[in-house]
Symmetry: C2
Subunit: 347 residues, 2 copies
């Protein structure tokens, strides 16, 4: 018998649309494999919402409409201009909030307000948005626990690369001693090009920008902030910490020189931007910095836009996972995965 | 409030003892982190059993007793000579069978009988033993489903390397297109030595034997059978197949020559023993064979005794996991992990 979970999606940009595409493409597979039906009862974007409390929106038509430039608030009988996320969550009965609005790292809005509304209504939350989680980690996880709301954010912690799953599920029962991650594809691409071609940082950055791999303003990536944000979530979750952004010292890659890369190579090492959290004594040392890894380190061969995370454990040794699409579809697949875990745990 | 699950352990060799050691070492962590108490109500070995239906055996004393050469059937007030696994399962109330007897690939005994008894009594089964699973996969999984018994076997599918977890949990919702695995540490060690030193197979084998990495009779490993056995379980589980041992063509590593390794290197490739299952058209092609992998293949850098598995998926791209202790403790940690998943799902 199929289990039905009603979804409200906030955010209809690249990730939100890719997610709706997956709901359409995967409908039969979700029913057959997991016994899951996931009607999309509302989609919220900046201008309003489309809502279908009874039975859900026709996602194939919604995708066609959006592909033709239509905005959700104008979608056939279901669009309503001016409706905001919190109002939709308050008024449309649902089971899960899927949060895919753009990340804001100053105040976390609009996602922060969506989280609040979902917590008040008892909706589980599956988020691709790092903002509220990074800014208010302890508050939100505490309130979620009290409200018996489950909070999943694979899509905010390197998306299709299963960082949290490996740290929580695959290593259950083991004690994690250290987390080391190449968590940002853009910086890894730049460092890989620098190492392969002997070129300067600025040149590799320009190449990455030309390919659309780096943003016009690359600060979030190259200063190490994106790595820090993901590391904060991993370290807080897996080590049960309460780190804020200011607690993690960050050195980006802008100061990495061809000479440093060459010197590392002469020692059999490769420079990677590593986000790390290592138990030392009774505490945990957390940082983001370029590190010279020996060539037999399991992250040393993670190149170009690939990401990876390596866990040192007490009883299982070191376990490393790499790969995962860095794309809206990869992030959407991580959202869908979290929903499956919450609704149809695979054990 | 703690959840109590009573365990019967069949098999008290290296893996069984390492598992009991973990129960002792991890008692506080299991209670604190997962709310789990796991009393060991019986341990069965070839000469009999130790049983403590009320409250469980004192595992610290049992370990000391065993370390001093004591056999379970002679353990203080709890030992009983002549009790076999099936009789213990029939008579000692319990929740989970932990199967850690030696693998038999002809008839699957004694584990097969333990599985039967557990299925009849409704005990969940967590197995490090490949025998019954490899020989009777479909029958056992069908019967388990009918009996509402859960069957977990991480420890039989590369142990601390989370092959099944990544294929079922981390990629939930994605469609796996191909499984490629370096699933046997001994053969990977031999191939790595051959590549590094240019030596012949026989020489690298002798080195591995001298280090205790290869058995005196290395057939199970070098002929590819161990890889095949793990691949069978992965392919059957993840692709919902009903493969038997005869359905998987196997080529081991005994025919790999230094010249072949050299020729591959000249083409920028490295030879690895790969167990693979790849969707092709409407079917799945399954085999074990030495393959020349390009150096940027995510398994190309898996060296010495390390293992790894790589999944190509539709929506998440390629996800690869490597590492995990190849040791009795690693296998025991995989047993414990499966128990945690069954009793305290981490979602």
């Amino acid at each position: 018998m199929a289990k039905t979970k009603r979804l409200i999606l906030c955010g209809f940009g690249n990730v939100g649309r890719a997610f709706v595409r997956l709901l359409d493409d995967k409908r039969a597979a979700l029913a057959a494999r997991y016994g899951l039906e996931l009607p999309l009862v509302a989609v919220v974007d900046v201008g309003g919402a489309a809502m279908a409390p009874e039975g859900g929106l026709p996602v194939d038509r919604l995708l066609d409409f959006a592909a033709a430039g239509g905005r959700v608030e104008a979608f056939a009988d279901w669009g309503r201009a001016g409706w905001r996320g919190a109002a939709v969550i308050d008024n449309v009965p649902a089971d899960i909030l899927v949060e895919a609005t753009p990340t804001n790292l100053t105040h976390g809005e609009p996602a922060r307000g969506h989280f609040d509304a979902a917590l008040a209504r008892g909706l589980d939350i599956v988020s691709a948005n790092k903002g509220p989680l990074v800014l208010f980690y302890r508050e939100l996880t505490d309130r979620a626990r009290q409200a018996r709301v489950r909070l999943a954010y694979s899509a905010a912690t390197a998306a299709a690369l299963p960082t949290l799953d490996v740290g929580r599920v695959c290593t259950a029962g083991a004690r994690i001693l250290a987390i080391e991650g190449i968590l940002n594809g853009t910086t890894n691409y730049i460092l890989t090009r620098m190492a392969a071609e002997g070129c300067a940082y600025a040149e590799a950055l320009a190449a990455a920008q030309a390919l659309g791999i780096a943003e016009t303003d690359p600060t979030l990536d190259v200063a190490g902030y994106d790595t820090r944000n993901k590391l904060l979530l991993l370290a807080n979750n897996l080590f049960d910490l309460d780190l804020g952004l200011a607690d993690i010292p960050v050195t980006g890659i802008t100061g990495v020189t061809p000479a440093a890369i060459q010197a590392a190579r002469a020692k059999g090492q490769v420079i990677k931007l590593v986000g790390s959290a290592r138990r030392e004594g009774r505490g945990v040392t957390v940082q983001v910095a370029p590190e010279a890894l020996p060539l037999d380190h399991p992250l040393a061969g993670v190149n170009l836009s690939e990401k990876g995370v390596s866990y040192a454990t007490d009883t299982m040794g070191r376990i490393t996972v790499t790969g995962g699409h860095s794309s809206p579809t990869g992030a959407a697949a991580a959202l869908l995965k979290d929903i499956i875990h919450l609704c149809a745990p695979p054990f």
